[in-house]
Every structure is written in structure tokens, then in C-alpha cells.
């Protein structure tokens, strides 16, 4: 009670977030039971519908594993996300360091804003950007190809190029945002550290390697751990809008989220989509716990909990 009194300003500050989590994360968690039910509507409202629906055990989970697509979608989801985590981290940190080293602050801000902007675009719009480059008849890339004397490429039917396209588009959209986070952390590093290093005769590269990167490590670890928790969630817009839902590309663009959407958009079985969501969060939960345990073994301070 005394603690509450002492920290009330702090507690008041977390109150909105706490309420948000209670209403939008903890309360809805009870809805997990739908994953084990054949959801049917009752005329007495939502709760009655949940209670009165029939239990079906693990029936709802079966469609996720019933075909050999299960392997493809899991592979695509995990591999793409792994690449995103690694490249995203490296590029974002690199960009943050480069930005922080630019002497002309006005220019630095300009670059920063320019890189930040794509983050705010919806995937639908990004999808059309990509289309204006990759369209077979009118795309910029094919027109350049024609000018150079190459044959036009049918981008939306040829899966070979898409792992690269997807990764490039993802990085283009997200690196700006993440680098701002790291840039903020760099700004927070005590300047006297650099001054001391300079007096000792350290050059720029040595300063970056021995001061900036170690100072950023805790933040990198935390953000990476959080990203690993989401490794089973694919960005739906990226994998659905950008390849224009083209069937021939499914071997390299079908991920868990698009699979669930395509499988259930006509039947609209809520039980099955809940099951898919539960499966994703369950695996994500296990992955966070494990990777956190691994981090703890090496460096206790960097672990999340």
C-alpha cells in the first residue's frame, strides 16, 4: 500500500497501457476455448454462443497439418522471418550508425525522414508500387529490359525471383523505422565515452566497434527476442498484397497467415481460425522462453526476464 502511494505518478502513467492490455489482450484470451469448439451462433449473444457450442477437441487444428502444404507454409514463415530478423537488425543498426555520424544534421534529418516514410504506407499501396515496377507490359523493370535488349520477364508467374523481392520490399519498408529506434539509443550514449576514446587515439571504426555496438547490444537483444516471439506470424499484407495473390507464386509466398485466410475465407469457421492463431502464439511463446533462456546463460543483464 505504501509502495502504491509512493509510486502513484508512475502507476498512473502505466494505467492506460494496463487497461489496454486488460481489455484487448487478457480478457479476449478467454476466447481461446473457441479453438476447441465448433462455433455456432446462439440468439442470446456472444457468450452464450461460446458456451453452447459443441466441443470438438483438436479437430480445428487438423487443417493446418492435413496436407504437405503444412511443411511449405511453416518453412516459408520461419525462414522469411529469420532472414528479416537478421538482415533487419544488421541494416537498421548500420543505418543508425551512419545517420549518427553525418555531420550535417539537416541532411541527416532529411535522410531519416525519407527512410522513415515507407513505414507508414499500407501494404496495399506498397503492392501497387511493386506492381508499377514489375507489371509485365507496363512495368518499369521490363521497359528497362526492353531498352537494354533483354526479354521481358513475367514476374508474377515466376517464383524464382520472389524470395529476393519479398526481402527487399520488407527491408525497404521497415529499416527506416527500426533505425530510428537505434538512433535514439545512440543519442543516449554518454558523449564522454567517445571523448575519452578519442584522447586515447581510437579511430572512428574502433569507436563504433568498442563503444556504440556494445552499448546497443541490450536493445538489440530485446528487440530480437521480441521478434523471435513473432516468428510464426507472417506479415499478411506483405505476402498477400505484394505478390498480388498470384497462385503460381504460392510455393514461395504462402505463409501461415495467408494459408489460413485462403482456407477459411469462404467457410468462415471461427473455430478453425482461432485454432490457427492459438497455434501461432503457442509456438511463439515457447520460442521466446527458449531464446530468453539461451540469452540468460550468456548474459543475464540482456535477458528479458
Amino acid at each position: 500500500m505504501k509502495d502504491i502511494g509512493r509510486n502513484k505518478m508512475m502507476l498512473l502513467m502505466v494505467l492506460p497501457a494496463t487497461l489496454w492490455f486488460i481489455f484487448f489482450s487478457y480478457l479476449p484470451m478467454a476466447g481461446m476455448v473457441i479453438a476447441f469448439k465448433e462455433y455456432r451462433y446462439s440468439r442470446d449473444g456472444f457468450l452464450a454462443s461460446i458456451l453452447e457450442s459443441k466441443w470438438v477437441g483438436l479437430q480445428n487444428f487438423k487443417f493446418l497439418f492435413s496436407t504437405n502444404d503444412a511443411y511449405i507454409i511453416t518453412r516459408n514463415t520461419v525462414l522469411y522471418n529469420a532472414v528479416f530478423i537478421v538482415l533487419g537488425l544488421a541494416l537498421a543498426v548500420l543505418m543508425a550508425i551512419v545517420l549518427s555520424e553525418i555531420v550535417n544534421k539537416r541532411l541527416a534529418k532529411l535522410y531519416q525522414t525519407g527512410m522513415f516514410l515507407p513505414y507508414f504506407l499500407s501494404w496495399v499501396i506498397v503492392g501497387y508500387f511493386a506492381f508499377s515496377f514489375l507489371s509485365v507490359d507496363r512495368g518499369m523493370v521490363n521497359q528497362i529490359f526492353a531498352w537494354l535488349g533483354f526479354d521481358p520477364v513475367s514476374w508474377y508467374t515466376n517464383p524464382a525471383y520472389w524470395p529476393v523481392i519479398i526481402v527487399v520490399v520488407f527491408l525497404w519498408k521497415s529499416v527506416g523505422y527500426n533505425s530510428v529506434v537505434y538512433l535514439a539509443a545512440i543519442m543516449g550514449i554518454d558523449k564522454s565515452l567517445y571523448e575519452a576514446a578519442m584522447i586515447d587515439g581510437a579511430n572512428k571504426w574502433q569507436q563504433i566497434r568498442n563503444i556504440t555496438i556494445p552499448m546497443l547490444t541490450p536493445l538489440m537483444t530485446i528487440l530480437t527476442l521480441l521478434a523471435i516471439g513473432k516468428i510464426f506470424y507472417a506479415d499478411f499484407g506483405l505476402f498477400y498484397q505484394v505478390p498480388r495473390d498470384s497462385g503460381s507464386l504460392y510455393p514461395v509466398t504462402n505463409v501461415i497467415d495467408t494459408y489460413v485466410y485462403r482456407g477459411l475465407k469462404t467457410t468462415g469457421e471461427i473455430g478453425m481460425s482461432t485454432a490457427a492463431g492459438l497455434y501461432q502464439s503457442f509456438i511463439g511463446f515457447i520460442l521466446v522462453i527458449t531464446s530468453n533462456a539461451v540469452v540468460r546463460r550468456f548474459n543475464k543483464d540482456n535477458a528479458l526476464f
Binding site: 498470384s246 467457410t267 469457421e269
Partner: protein, 489 residues
């Protein structure tokens, strides 16, 4: 201690306020009593499909005045845009949002599936009691064809009953090259026309096809756009994989030939719609589902003349019967009143035309007996006529022939029943397989149907994957249900 308590008060008050507001959102209980009279009307909440219109509330106010007088109800209409309707209503019904009446159909917010899930109220008893006018007005095939497991859950709009596929032509181009449409019927018969256009009009799509289209084959699909189907000629009702039929193979080969010749848009397999080229007129022909005098409608909406010629027989399918329906929500508080309203909507020309065209003098004016003309304001209240009940009591437009509805009746009477009319597949035993097959379909369907890929190679691949996903099990289950249904007829 005392001061701490006091300081906590505002916070506590804030929390209470939040919870009060939240709970107030949830429960809007209205007391019962002598409700549903002209003095104390009840409010019906009505969800309909279509781009939300600016003047909906103003028109509904007028409608409410009229209906309060007649049957003691007022109406609040919520319009949900075409692309969002199915998903929004799925969520609204699943979460038990207050709804009294809603639009449902075979193509948006699926009627059969949602009836089975319990979204709609069964109306077997309400209909004769409060909706006798509907029973009298409708062709019996509508109510019979829209039964789910032997019960009615929705009221089909009285409109064209059969579906007929037609080839539509951009008449400007037809005239420019003096092309005739005689002898055009099959997919193969189009070639010389397409060739002329391709050679002379490089900017025009000779055969406009988007990813939602499939070549017409004489089969009745068990579920639209999934490969289980029954041949129109097969009275034994044997369910087959339509991709393995000779008709489909031939059609796909032709489509691929056309694609290679450049008659079909190169991006067809990922083209969402043809709205763009329809607006610019840069298309020569396409295929569409028709109704009597549809050419007038199309020409009016595109702003240039469109003509059509049949591409199939006129058949009554499940999906054409259920093309536009109104259902009463399972959680409606006033189902009797909702049925009375729907009855009035389908039988009373005053109400029906008000809902459809808006307020006389503001949105439209009468220029003759039963003939109306849209005023400028009609753009603020432009409703999809077919989705709002009985078509046969709506006013005619100036371009319509006087015997328009007679034409519809003749068309309806001439329609032939498709083999699966009245059969509804219960998917509950094969939901897992359907979800998997659906994914395979999404992977191959558009590419094959638009002719983008070579069927020689892709058909085998698709069929292998369909089999692995459990298509045979679905076909078996469908066959079992169809046999049972046939025996019970």
C-alpha cells in the same frame, strides 16, 4: 492515510466512468409493452449491401414515417460496401450484434453456410403468418430453391430466376469493324472477331478476363468455384472433378491459345476487376451473367452502347435463386415486426420505391404512369435495386420498355432447372478437406481459368494436389448427400 485516500478518488471516479461507458455500450435494453404501434413504433436495424450513400438517413426518416403509420416500425439502415459485406457481417453475427434484418446471398455473406451456423431465424412459421403477401408474389421456385435442410431462412427478391451467360460486346468497336455476332455461341467461335480486334486495336483487350472468371462449361457446381460438379446432362447426378472433364480441358486449351495469341490481358490471373477498362471503353468483349434487358442497364452504367448474345442456356441454379435475399437475424427482438416489414417491402410499391429511389421531388420525379426520372440528387442515394426486394413493383426508367416485368416473367417461365437445384451441401464433415482444397484452388484456379498457364502441364499438377488435399473425400461425401437428397425427392 486520509489524504492518500482522497487523492485516489479522481482515479477511482475515472475508472468507474470508463466501466460505466463500456457497459452502456453493451446493453441497450428497451422495455416491452404496447410497442409496435403507430404511436410507439419499434426500431428495426437493417444491414444492406452497397456503397454507403450520403442520404440514407434522410431517406430512412421518410421511410420510417410511412412504416410507423402502416405497421408501427421505424427503420435504421446500415450500408456496408460490396467488398467488406461478407466479412463485416460474419463478425457482426458471430459476436451477436443487434441486427433485425440483413442482406444475404450466394455470393456475399453466404446464405446456406450462415443459415447452418445459426445466423438467421427460421421463418417457416413467420412467413405464412406475417408474410403472406410475399408467398403470393414470389414464383414458388424461389422459396423452394432457397430451403436449407428443409427450412426457409430468407426471403429471395422477386427477380430473374434463371442465370444465362452472355457474350457482351462493346458496340462501338463492333460497328467500327463491321463485325457481326451471328454464329457466336461457343468459346471457339470467337476467334475471328478477336483476331480482327487484336490486329487493329493494339490498346484494347480483345477478350477482357479477370481472375474471377472461368470459362463456361455445362456443369452445375456443388460449391461455386470448387471443382466438384455434376454434368447438366447427367440425370444420375454423378459428382465429378470438373478439371478432369473433356469440356473443361477443351475450354482451357482454347483459353491458353487465346492467351498466347494476346487476346487475353497478360495480367488476367492477378486482375481483380475490369472496372478500369470498362470505364475507358478499352475492351472489345467479355462474358457476363445476364437478365432481360440487361443491355440497357450496362449501356447506361458504362456510358456507351453494349450489346450481348447468349453463351449458354438459361438455367435455374441454386446460386441464381439465392442471388439476393433478406433474412431476419436470429437475435432479432422483433421477428414478427421484421417479417411484417419485409412483407410490406415486397408488396407495397410506395415503400419499395422509396427504399430504392429515395424521396420523390428530391431524388427522382415521375414522368409518366409508373415511369420515373432520376434527378441530380439521385447520386446521393443510388441504391442497388436488386438487393432490396421485389423488383417487379419498382418504377421503370425512361429507357425501359413498358413490358419490362412481363419480359422477366417470360424469362423466368422459360428457365430450366439445373440438376442440383434445391440441394445444399452440408460441409460440416469435410471442413478440414475444404480448407485444404480451397488453398489448392487459390494456387491454380486463376492461372488455369484465364489461360495464363499451359493446361497440359498444370492440370495434372493441380489435380495431383487436389487429390492430396482430399478432393476425393469431398466428392464422396457430396455424392452420398446428393444420393440421399435424390432419393428423398
Amino acid at each position: 492515510m486520509n489524504t492518500t485516500k482522497k487523492r485516489w478518488l479522481p482515479l477511482l471516479a475515472a475508472i468507474m466512468l470508463v466501466s460505466l461507458v463500456l457497459s452502456a455500450c453493451g446493453s441497450k435494453e428497451s422495455g416491452s409493452g404496447a410497442e409496435g404501434t403507430a404511436e410507439k413504433p419499434v426500431e428495426l436495424i437493417w444491414y444492406t449491401i452497397g456503397t454507403p450513400q450520403k442520404d440514407v438517413n434522410a431517406v430512412m426518416e421518410e421511410v420510417s414515417k410511412y412504416t410507423a403509420e402502416k405497421i408501427g416500425v421505424t427503420v435504421k439502415m446500415t450500408m456496408v460496401d460490396w467488398g467488406d459485406y461478407a466479412q463485416k457481417l460474419q463478425v457482426a453475427t458471430a459476436s451477436g450484434e443487434p441486427i433485425d434484418m440483413m442482406f444475404t446471398s450466394s455470393w456475399a455473406f453466404d446464405y446456406v453456410q450462415n443459415a447452418r451456423k445459426g445466423a438467421f431465424m427460421e421463418i417457416d412459421e413467420l412467413l405464412p403468418k406475417y408474410g403472406q403477401g410475399i408467398v403470393d408474389a414470389l414464383d414458388p421456385a424461389f422459396l423452394e430453391g432457397s430451403k436449407v435442410d428443409g427450412h426457409n431462412y430468407g426471403i429471395p427478391a422477386n427477380k430473374e430466376l434463371p442465370a444465362q451467360e452472355v457474350w457482351r460486346f462493346n458496340k462501338q468497336l463492333l460497328d467500327k469493324y463491321k463485325l457481326g455476332t451471328e454464329g457466336i455461341y461457343s468459346l471457339d467461335s470467337l476467334e475471328p472477331l478477336l483476331k480482327t480486334i487484336k490486329e487493329n486495336e493494339p490498346d484494347v483487350y480483345p477478350l477482357a478476363v479477370d481472375k474471377n472468371q472461368a470459362p463456361y462449361v455445362p456443369y452445375d457446381y456443388v460449391i461455386e468455384k470448387l471443382p466438384m460438379a455434376v454434368s447438366l446432362k447427367d440425370s444420375g447426378l454423378k459428382v465429378v472433378n470438373v478439371l478432369e472433364t473433356p469440356e473443361m480441358k477443351a475450354a482451357l486449351n482454347t483459353m491458353h491459345k487465346y492467351y498466347k495469341a494476346g487476346y487475353i490481358p497478360t495480367e488476367a490471373a492477378s486482375l481483380d476487376s475490369l472496372t478500369d477498362v470498362q470505364a475507358t471503353g478499352k475492351w472489345f468483349m467479355d462474358r457476363a451473367t445476364s437478365q432481360p434487358f440487361a443491355d440497357n442497364l450496362w449501356s447506361a452504367s458504362y456510358g456507351y452502347p453494349v450489346v450481348s448474345t447468349p453463351a449458354s442456356e438459361a438455367l435455374i441454379y441454386n446460386w441464381s435463386v439465392m442471388g439476393s435475399m433478406q433474412a431476419i437475424s436470429a437475435n432479432s427482438k422483433y421477428p414478427e415486426k421484421a417479417m411484417e416489414f419485409l412483407n410490406l417491402l415486397n408488396t407495397d410499391p410506395v415503400l419499395r420505391n422509396m427504399v430504392d429511389s429515395g424521396i420523390e421531388g428530391t431524388h427522382y420525379e415521375m414522368v409518366g404512369d409508373n415511369v420515373m426520372k432520376n434527378l441530380d440528387n439521385s447520386k446521393n442515394y443510388d441504391m442497388p435495386t436488386f438487393s432490396l426486394g421485389n423488383l417487379f413493383i419498382t418504377h421503370l426508367n425512361e429507357t425501359d420498355p413498358a413490358d419490362k416485368w412481363e419480359g422477366f416473367k417470360t424469362f423466368n417461365d422459360a428457365g430450366v432447372e439445373a440438376p442440383l437445384l434445391g440441394f445444399n451441401f452440408d460441409t460440416s464433415k469435410v471442413t478440414t478437406e475444404i480448407a485444404a482444397v480451397q488453398n489448392v484452388k487459390e494456387e491454380f484456379w486463376a492461372a488455369l481459368m484465364t489461360g495464363t498457364v499451359d493446361p497440359e502441364e498444370y492440370l495434372t499438377r493441380a489435380n495431383d494436389k487436389f487429390k492430396a488435399a482430399g478432393l476425393d473425400k469431398i466428392i464422396e461425401e457430396a455424392q452420398r448427400q446428393i444420393d440421399e437428397w435424390k432419393a428423398s425427392k
